[in-house]
Symmetry: C2
């Protein structure tokens, strides 16, 4: 069983109200280091076999066609899920 | 200027209706490889200086206290944003 991580972020020029709300709240909670916050989505897709190049290509296509809105979002990462990428070290 | 990526996923035992909706739609759109999908959040936090260990610790704390709901979510990744993690290769 393999897992692929697909990550989507708003395009840089797109207004990000969620990110604005978070960066506004952080100083009130004692976090003064951060000058901006952008919020996107992280998907973990499971496949039965190994994560082959074909699986990665299908995950990228799913990312572009189903998991994101290409008008306002970019797919910024498609990779096999490893411990470095936040996979449980199972 | 440095950037930190903080990523949050639903705890494994938590029902993920968004993920269920996506995995239901994928086969209809020709993507039959994926047996499950889980959806979480990706944040990019900007800091003025470099990403120091203190900045990473503050980002993790912000992740746990502000960017996620610890009852139903886990912070699965806190790292300096690099091209490998989907940072624009600026």
């Amino acid at each position: 069983m393999g897992r692929v991580v697909v990550e989507v972020m708003p395009k840089p020029e797109i207004l990000d109200p969620q990110g604005k709300a978070v960066v506004g709240a952080l100083p009130r909670l004692g976090f003064t280091q951060f000058t901006s916050v952008r919020q996107g989505k992280r998907f973990e897709l499971e496949v039965e076999g190994d994560v082959t190049p074909e699986v990665l290509a299908a995950a990228r296509e799913a990312g572009e066609k189903v998991l994101s809105n290409p008008v306002i979002e970019d797919v910024v990462l498609v990779a096999e899920l490893t411990a470095e990428l936040g996979g449980e070290s199972a």
